[in-house]
Structures are given as structure tokens and as C-alpha cells.
Amino acid sequence: MIRLTDLHKSFGNNAVLRGVDLHVPKGESMVVIGGSGTGKSVLIKCILGLITPDSGVIEVDGQDVTEADRDAFLARFGMLFQGGALFDSLPVWQNVAFRLLRGSLKRPKSEAREIAIEKLRRVGLSSDVADRLPAELSGGMQKRVGLARAIAANPEIIFFDEPTTGLDPIMAGVINDLIREIVTEMGATAITITHDMASVRAIADDVAMLHAGKVRWSGPVSKMDDSGDPYLHQFITGSAEGPIEAIR
């Protein structure tokens, strides 16, 4: 479904992606792990076309994304940004229902609001937050509003950039279950970025580890523990000793 071939991206002389190959089959949940600053967020922004890669091919359904009709392409996607990226001038429910209030998916306001409140409930937020402004919510609540917005229009392909960062363990569990549910019940294809190994085990079908600008290891989550790869092993165990330097 999503296939990346030899993707390169540098910012000035900071070569972030140096030949990434990745394949995510339809209906699968791929989790991308890797040290802070290894380019995970850059990777998914490249797929969405928010960052233009220097070279390499990105295909969705076998079609090169640079040749696809951009509006139709984006209509299939949902994205949770690492920082939430909520529109701070709009109340929470209008953030969630953004897509349903304008453009091709536009529907009556009351219906959009109902859908928004239902999505908020799914991320563990009660309807009282619906009319507040994003700035009036805690960091973890904002993250969940971002999540509700990402899934509001039932996209086929969803990217989650650190969905559980900043959440308490119980709420993190709820979100993990939700992501799993979206993939298994709605048949969505998901790429999730996370540092939380409990999340990885709860969400992933496949895992890819990004290191030094390339996919260092990828495979089914069941093979992760006995991969034999020292880099992956160090990352999973969170050990300071190993091939990955602690200062980056």
C-alpha cells in the first residue's frame, strides 16, 4: 500500500534520511521506532508531501505520490502531529470536525458536532471539553483532541506521531487499544511513531527501526525480541551500553 524506495532528505548539511526503504501493506499497523532526532517525523511528513524529499520514490497504491491528484490523495489520510497542531482559534469540537465543516465532506453543523463529540469520547474526553479552546486543555488532552481530529473523517491511512507521549499509563492504554481497533475494525493502514515499547507491542503488526538515516531493522513484532541486531536490542532494552551513542 505504502512503499518508500531509497528516500533521501537533508536539511543543509544535516543528512537526515539517507536511503530509507519501507513497505507497509494495506490494513497493517506499522510502528516506526528510533532515537530522538533520527528523522521519524520527517519520514511521515515526506509521505504526506509536507516535506519534499531530495530523492527517492514514494508510492501509495502503486502510484507515485508526486503524480497523484493531491486533493484526492490527502482526503484518504489522517495525521496526528507530534505537537498536536490544533487550531488555537477554533474550539475543540470545530478542530475535531474541521473536515466535516468545509470542503467536499461538508455536512450540517449539528451532525458534524455530534460526530466530533463521539470521536472525543473515543479518545477518552467528555463532551464538556467540546466548547473549550485548545489552549485551555492540558498537553495530554490536546494530544487526544489531535487524535480525534485525525480519525474524524474515517481515513483509510492514518499516521500517528507519538500518540501516547504525555499521557498517563491508563490513558496510554486506552489510546493503544483505540489505534489497534481502528486498524482491525475499520481496516485502516496505520504508521505509528512511538518511543513507548508497551505501545509498540500493543499496536504493531510490523516494526521498523530507523537509525543513521536508514531502516536498520524491520520485521514482525513477534521477531523483535530475538532479532539478533545489537542496535535494536539496545533500543528495546533501553540500555545506555551498546552501539548507539548516547550523545547525538
Binding site: 511528513k45 509536507l50 490527502l74 474541521f98 468545509r102 470542503g103
Partner: protein, 258 residues
């Protein structure tokens, strides 16, 4: 020597590149004018923000300027016994030049800066990226409504500024300088031509376009972080002010040089 030439060349290239980028930005903004979807609510919001909420600033600026202008013309005119021209010169000075230019500069200070800071913050906090992923074109959703609203509402603001400026001159003229009220108004009305008024409103539209455009352009170009937002805001106001003054010269030349 060659280093000097290289520096000149680099500056020239940089300037040309900036003009090119700006031209592309203008082209892209205008290209959304006729392509749906449209965002009437954003447009209405921009009209109110740019038009209605600027009224106090515009009114006060024009009132004080008109009053000061009357005092100066009286003082200057009395040196060669021409005090009587106060109503005429206040009218022509306000309508042709000071009305549009001062309102334009006040809008650059008030509107350009707030647009630039808002859009730059949205850029820095990835809200612009989020718009794209929600199938909403940032130029269509953010830039076009603001630029369009400013272009349409600025002639109205300038018209109001002109009237209030003349009224400021009238107040000073009748209260302090001893002009007859009816004669003052008659002199003003007789003296102004249609071209004066049209030029004033056209200038308003052009300055409004420049002010909103610069805010959006620098906002969208903003670097990351708080410093990026600060720099975008500053550059947008400076660029808008200078371009407004330059455009004013060109328009004055076009309207009145014959």
C-alpha cells in the same frame, strides 16, 4: 574589486529572487480567487478584523492629522497672506495624500503585524501543515480571505479617514482660526474633484492589498521558533510600509503628473 562585484551581484540576485518569490505568491493567491471551495466565514471574519476594528485607529489618526494640517497651512499661508486657502489645502492634502498614506501605514502597523504573527505562529506550531493534511489549502483558507478583505475594505477606511481628516481641519479652522463654518465647508466641497476622490480610494485598495499580502507572505515564510515569528512580524511591517510609500509615489505620478 572582484569581491565588491560579487557582493553586488549576490545582493542583486537575492533581490530578484525575492521579487520572484513574491510574484509567485501573488499569482498563487489570485489563482484561488475563482477556484472553489471558498471560505466565506473566514472572509467575513477578516472583514470585521481588518475593517471594523481599525475604525478607532483610523479615525483618531485622521482627526489629529487634519487638525495639525490646518494649523500648519494657516501659519505657513499667513507669511504671504494666503491664510484663506486652509479649507482647500486641507481637503486636497487629506484626500490625495495624507488620508490614504496614513491610513495605509496605520493598517500596516495594526493589520500586517497581526496577520504575520498569527500565520507565523500557525506555521511554527505546524498548524499550516495540519491544514494541508485536512485537505484545506492554506493559501485559500488563510491568505486569500485576508488579502481580499483588506483590498475591499481599505477604500472604505480611507474614505472615512478623508472625511474625518477634513472634519479635523474644519474643527480647528472654525474653532481656533476663525473661519466661517458654512464657507469652510463650501470651499472644501467646491475644490475637491472627482479625480481626487477616486485616486484616494484606489490608493486605499492598493495599500490594503499590500498590507495584507505582506503579512501573509512573511508569515508563511517564517522560520521556526519564537524568533522566527518575531522576525516575520518585523519584516512584514517594514516591507508593507516601504511598499505602501513606494506605491503611493507611483500612483500619485500616474494620477496627477499630467
Amino acid at each position: 574589486m572582484s569581491r565588491l562585484l560579487a557582493a553586488i551581484g549576490a545582493t542583486t540576485l537575492g533581490l530578484l529572487a525575492a521579487i520572484g518569490r513574491l510574484a509567485l505568491f501573488v499569482g498563487e493567491t489570485l489563482s484561488h480567487l475563482f477556484r472553489p471551495p471558498f471560505y466565506p466565514r473566514e472572509f467575513g471574519h477578516a472583514l470585521i478584523q481588518i475593517g471594523y476594528f481599525s475604525l478607532p485607529v483610523v479615525g483618531l489618526t485622521a482627526l489629529f492629522t487634519g487638525g495639525a494640517l490646518a494649523l500648519q497651512i494657516y501659519a505657513g499661508g499667513s507669511r504671504f497672506d494666503a491664510q484663506a486657502v486652509v479649507p482647500q489645502i486641507v481637503a486636497i492634502g487629506m484626500v490625495r495624500e495624507l488620508g490614504p498614506v496614513l491610513v495605509g501605514l496605520m493598517i500596516a502597523a495594526r493589520v500586517t503585524s497581526s496577520i504575520a504573527a498569527e500565520i507565523a505562529t500557525m506555521k511554527v506550531t505546524e498548524q499550516i501543515d495540519a491544514l494541508v493534511t485536512l485537505s484545506t489549502h492554506p493559501m485559500k483558507y488563510l491568505t486569500l480571505p485576508r488579502v481580499l478583505a483588506a483590498t475591499l475594505v481599505m477604500p472604505v477606511l480611507v474614505g472615512i479617514g478623508d472625511i474625518i481628516g477634513i472634519f479635523g481641519g474644519y474643527l480647528v479652522g472654525t474653532e481656533r482660526l476663525g473661519f466661517n463654518a458654512a464657507a469652510y465647508l463650501k470651499n472644501t466641497a467646491d475644490f475637491l474633484t472627482r479625480l481626487d476622490i477616486i485616486s484616494s480610494l484606489v490608493k486605499g485598495a492598493v495599500f490594503g492589498f499590500i498590507a495584507a499580502l505582506m503579512g501573509c507572505y512573511y508569515g508563511m515564510q517564517s522560520d521556526r521558533g519564537a524568533m522566527g515569528v518575531g522576525r516575520a512580524t518585523k519584516s512584514s511591517v517594514v516591507a508593507a510600509a516601504i511598499l505602501i510609500l513606494a506605491a503611493n509615489f507611483i500612483l500619485t505620478e500616474a494620477f496627477f503628473s499630467a
